[in-house]
Amino acid sequence: MKVRARDAKELWQEEFEKAPVRDDGIETSTISGIPLKPLYTGDDLPRREEELPGQFPYTRGIHPSGYRGRLWTMRQFSGFATAEETNRRYKYLLANGQTGLSVAFDMPTLMGQDSDAPTSRGEVGHCGVAIDSLADMETLFEGIPLGDITTSMTINSPAAILLCMYIAVAEKQGVPASKLGGTLQNDILKEFIAQKEFIFPPAPSMRLVVDSIEYCAAEVPKWNTISISGYHIREAGSTAVQELAFTLADGMAYVDACLERGMHIDDFASRLSFFFDAHIDFFEEIAKFRAARRIWARWMRERYGAQQERSWKLRFHTQTAGVSLTAQQPELNIARTAIEAMAAVLGGTQSLHTNAMDEVLALPTDKAARIALRTQQLLAYETGAANTIDPLGGSYFVEALTDEMERQAEAYFKRIDEIGGVIPAIEAGFFQKEIADAAFRYQNEVEQKRRIMVGVNEFTVDEEEPLEILRMDPGLESQQAERVREVRRRRDQAQATNALNRLRKAAAGNDNLMPYILDAVRAYATEGEIMQAMIEVFGTYTETAVV
């Protein structure tokens, strides 16, 4: 006998309520605190026209063919010590089947300082590769044809300088800028919000971002001029919804700034790209990726009036969550990363970095880096995950969660608007406080064992077997410092000084600064010198620290 659907659901509800439930005190909400039902049914499915991949609003993916057309790019973020050593690691990764490069710079490079600056002590080459001038960049890409690969560069305040160095290396290889493909992170807003690698105040920082977008639209048309990043917001402790909302709000702030410059939306929108975290709460992450595409498409078409389809499509890179990794029983990180990477794939990412198990202790060893890459290959070729487009589309749960993420993100956009926009909200400490509150709440849940981190607050072992980690050569710093001094000695000093003077003058005016920076780079002015020239005009920014 067939029970009617309504009665069957009521019956289930009754039985569920009678059944014993676990009383271990562990949260049943998502890791971000969204309450979840024990069961989702057809009643939770939103009433809307069927969504399809490659069609507005792209909830199910931007390509009609999904990964059947093309797999995601396996792009492992990598860089350490000197340009020479990193160049060797790049060749190793490419030889092992990696399909794109991604440069990690050291702290002095990220902060626009040369390796011989006093505040660079102890930092050179530690969490990325040290790049001081075009000479280092030439070494970094020696023997790697820039016309044939794409490169992502994680750099923000000095982003324009590093992009110019890349363009200049390509020139020397005989590759025109118009052929270059890759991505510049160049997302200064999330630096103010979360990662805190700002140098200039917000206004000149935004000018540099718009300068690079404008320049690339004309000269480097295949380059992704910005990677609007939720990753760092999430790693700083935000919830998934905050990551989604703050990132897309940043995206709109960049669009507004470009429109203010007088650019046309369809001339730059398709080169904006995004970068999200893939955290450990599997379904929430998938819903986040799906919601991101839908929200962006709607805003671009409806609010900004973009006419071209390619302007509506949100393309993104994903990295698995560094903060989900544990120093305790670090081999477990392989399992965590695999699950997170699967979420990114089911969420339709365009490219992916999988963390290595030892990244919670140091930069990855060759072996750990290879396992991380192999995890992606396993997902692509063994699991079958790439065979069907958006396989979770239509899932009662995932569709309902996608809608919930969208609703909560829209509520944040309203709050940010009420404060006056992204930059006023940064200056008011709004994002910073929201993130710090979320981080503190999560930490307390872990302390109270309402959230379990395996190997940390449960299932611990007394004696850990030490993992072999990558160690930097202690002589590295002085060698690199000597190298940059050598560059300064050997260059045509008049040419470098003149280029820096012209840049300083241009910074005080309204010209696009990219050609001036490119000239300074070609003259082997160092990163620190170029930054200093701009600091003299723009000044620096100090954050009011909020706890």
Partner: protein, 136 residues
């Protein structure tokens, strides 16, 4: 030197080095404040000299350092050395961040009283301070 019971322990919490990863330092600062300590957070990119200046100006008994960039072997001992130079070795230095086990032993030898790495319960840090300053 034990402090008097009426005076709460003052802790200067600082991010040394160039990295901006302030999630951990902020969570720890809040937890210490909630545990009754007077916490002064200096913010980002403090040099060892700036940290010691702040500790002396604030009459702090403790300095808590956070770093995630790998420069701990240079910068943590530099704070201890600066305290020696300024004859303020009664100030206790502890730290946290991404710090491999082998380095912890070396840092303790160089005068860093304790290192707390990711996954440490906040209560463990508070307990350590209570033991160190029982009258607080």
């Amino acid at each position: 030197m034990p402090k008097t019971a009426t005076k709460p322990v003052r802790i200067v919490v600082a991010k040394v080095g160039l990295d901006g990863h302030d999630r951990g330092v902020k969570v720890v600062a809040r937890a210490l404040r909630d545990a009754g300590y007077e916490v002064i957070y200096t913010g980002l990119r403090q040099t060892p000299e700036m940290v010691v200046d702040a500790a002396l100006q604030e009459d702090a008994q403790v300095i808590g350092l956070s770093i995630h960039s790998g420069a701990h072997m240079t910068l943590f001992p530099a704070v201890v050395d600066e305290l020696k130079r300024r004859k303020a070795t009664d100030i206790v230095v502890f730290g946290g961040g991404i710090i491999p086990d082998d380095d912890i032993a070396a840092l303790r030898k160089k005068g860093v009283a304790a290192i707390f790495t990711p996954g440490t319960p906040l209560q463990e840090i508070v307990d350590w301070l209570r033991k160190r300053f029982p009258e607080s």
